[in-house]
């Protein structure tokens, strides 16, 4: 794992400044600022309804904040669309698993290559020549990811039939297929048993190690957060209440209060 000193010196990949987002009367995010540096695992934690998922949705362009700005790779991105986020190198998974349920594991992960494939509609219709070659090349990459995640056995299974833990793994595979620079994981271990959690932890660390991917991670399990992350930002009621290395955050009085529900 990188030391804090390394990361503190690292380049900022994404920064969020004074971002506020509300839905009608509900203030989901209120004036939150933080940054994510290249190569780090950045955890976002906080009680339910704190605004963590909303923050990921802002980062990948699903929601547009009413105030504040987002810089990605040094460029200001106002009103970034999901398509632009994806082509800029942001991939994500969802809290409640959003897979293409009728499609096989292979096809789901192949769908993650959509942006990397660009043979035109004409050849697609014929499906010979360039389109065929392109399929083969990308299929090879996808097989590597399948090996990496150890899901060879379910390659041809429609994902709707898989148990929840495996679905989360396929979803991670689909995000990895995009070869992202920034990977957003929304509670990747929720609803998993201990063994599945350990596997997922290992995959996340391996992803960072092997592909150098920067990771932003929402997680409830404090043990996991402390093990995996380089820095932690804590949200509560849409506000940022702490930001720093795990040990410091863990000892922070406001954080403990928020988690013990003192103010709730």
């Amino acid at each position: 794992m990188q030391s804090y000193a390394d990361i503190a010196k690292g380049d900022v990949l994404l920064s969020v400044k004074d971002v506020s987002l509300s839905f009608g009367g509900v203030k989901a995010i209120q004036g939150v600022s933080f940054d994510i540096r290249k190569g780090e695992v950045r955890a976002i934690i906080g009680p339910n309804g704190a605004g963590k998922t909303s923050m990921l949705n802002v980062i990948n362009g699903f929601y547009h904040p009413q105030a504040g700005e987002i810089m990605f790779k040094g460029i200001r991105r106002p009103k970034m669309k999901p398509y632009e986020a994806a082509s800029g190198g942001i991939a994500r998974t969802f809290q409640n698993v959003a897979l293409f349920k009728g499609m096989t594991t292979l096809d789901n992960i192949m769908a993650g290559r959509s942006l990397k494939m660009n043979v035109g509609l004409f050849w697609q219709m014929l499906r010979f020549g360039p389109a065929e070659r392109e399929e083969v090349i990308h299929r090879r990459r996808v097989e590597e990811i399948i090996d990496f995640l150890e899901i060879q056995a379910i390659r041809k299974t429609p994902v709707g039939k898989l148990p929840y833990g495996l679905q989360k793994r396929v979803e991670l595979g689909r995000a990895l297929a995009m070869e992202p620079e920034l990977l957003l994981l929304d509670e990747p271990m929720a609803g998993m048993n201990l063994e599945e959690k350990e596997d997922m932890c290992r995959f996340i660390l391996d992803v960072r190690e092997q592909f150098g991917t920067t990771i932003a991670l929402i997680e409830h399990d404090m043990g996991v957060v402390m093990d995996l992350s380089d820095r932690v930002v804590v949200l509560d009621y849409g506000r940022k209440i702490a930001d720093g290395v795990p040990d410091v955050v863990k000892a922070d009085k406001t954080v403990i209060d928020a988690y013990l529900g003192v103010a709730h």
């Binding site: 293409f100 349920k101 509609l121």
Partner: protein, 370 residues
């Protein structure tokens, strides 16, 4: 594994569908009994409704074959219209009220462009002009898809389904008005032979009788089959087909991997437009090309009720069931009602199927999504 742990055979349960089936069988036996004991006989109302049609089917099998064939051909065309609906519904959740009009509009464009080419631009009438017109009509359907995406879908995305439905109702009236303005309101004749489609018919002596088959109907069945197979292949094995299936499954997941919904919508509307064009050619060749053809869209609804709004196999099987059921009903029971039953029979057949399978043939979520 010991025998004790083997699951017991599932107990036979009487579902509502099985009760209905049992009822039918019991009723059929009753009729047979009544007829053979002479309680009801030729000329009685009950005999005419419940016995006579089946007696004629057995006595004149050639007529039965003829009727079945005609039903299958009509069914193929119903299936194509339903297919257009399903494509658009799956990819964008829009119930496209304009699908029927798109059939007419596509056929009118084809014939209209042919008229312009041959009558005004001095092209020699014939195959070449017809093929040029075909490409022209495909171009028109592409432009329509782009315009619909820009003007209707994009501004209304995430609106309630009813609003989208109303937008397609508006599109229907726009296409009628625009079509009449550009191509005139008079019925036109489909350029069947110019396109190289066969027009004659052949008669076969089988089963002690004669069955006559229109060559055009054979061509329609073959072309429809090829088109459906090509579409299935396209969906299953290409990147864009995969993207289409992805969008149909989950909009947000598709967006997150960078699939552009706008591009996908253009592609599905264009595909539905091509399907409409093929349907329009086949249908127009059997009658003429006018806005009266629009009513065939009404046949698609019972097909969708049977097959489900999201199932392509459902559209195909549903279309064939309605087509065959309708022709059989019309031929054998129609005279009892003094004819004219084809306008509502399809709906009765759909209700009949729903009695056995309330969820439709293939549907898991046909009711939930509309």
């Amino acid at each position: 594994m010991s025998d004790a742990t083997l699951p017991a055979a599932p107990a036979f349960k009487m579902t509502p569908g099985r009760w209905t089936l049992l009822g039918f069988v019991a009723f059929a036996l009753l009729i047979v009994a009544l007829v053979s004991t002479g309680t009801i006989r030729r000329g009685d109302f009950l005999y005419n409704v419940f016995a006579d049609p089946f007696v004629s089917m057995v006595d004149l099998p050639d007529l039965l074959v003829q009727t079945l064939w005609e039903g299958l051909v009509a069914g193929v065309l119903y299936a194509l219209i339903a297919l257009g609906f399903v494509l658009i519904f799956k990819a964008s959740g829009v119930f496209n009220f304009a699908q029927g009009i798109m059939v007419v509009f596509a056929a009118l464009s084809l014939v209209g462009i042919y008229e312009i080419l041959t009558l005004r631009l001095g092209f020699p009438p014939g195959f070449v002009a017809a093929i040029l017109s075909l490409f022209g009509a495909i171009g028109v359907m592409f432009v329509l898809a782009v315009v619909v995406e820009r003007v209707v879908l994009r501004p209304l995305v995430n609106q309630h389904e009813i609003i989208m439905l109303m937008a397609t109702v508006g599109l229907t009236y726009f296409l009628i008005g625009f079509g009449e303005y550009v191509f005139g309101g008079n019925p036109k004749v489909m350029i069947t032979s110019q396109l190289g489609l066969p027009t004659g018919s052949s008669t076969f002596n089988i089963l002690g009788g004669r069955v006559s088959i229109q060559h055009l109907d054979v061509a329609a069945a073959v072309i429809a089959t090829i088109m459906i197979a090509a579409l299935a292949f396209f969906f299953q094995y290409t990147r864009i087909g995969r993207a289409l299936r992805a969008v149909a499954d989950s909009h947000k997941a598709a967006l997150s991997v960078g699939i552009s919904l706008n591009q996908i919508w253009v592609i599905v509307w264009f595909t539905a437009g091509i399907v409409a064009l093929v349907t329009g050619i086949m249908w127009g060749a059997r009658s003429d090309v006018s806005f009266a053809l629009e009513i065939i869209a009404l046949k698609a609804l019972p097909v969708l009720i049977i097959g489900g709004f999201t199932s392509i196999p459902g559209a195909i099987i549903g279309g064939l069931i309605i087509g065959v059921g309708e022709k059989i009903g019309e031929f054998y029971w129609g005279p009892l009602f003094g004819g004219g039953i084809e306008s509502w029979l399809a709906y009765i057949i759909a209700l009949g199927v729903l009695m056995f399978r309330p969820q439709g043939l293939f549907g898991e979520k046909i009711i939930e999504r509309i």
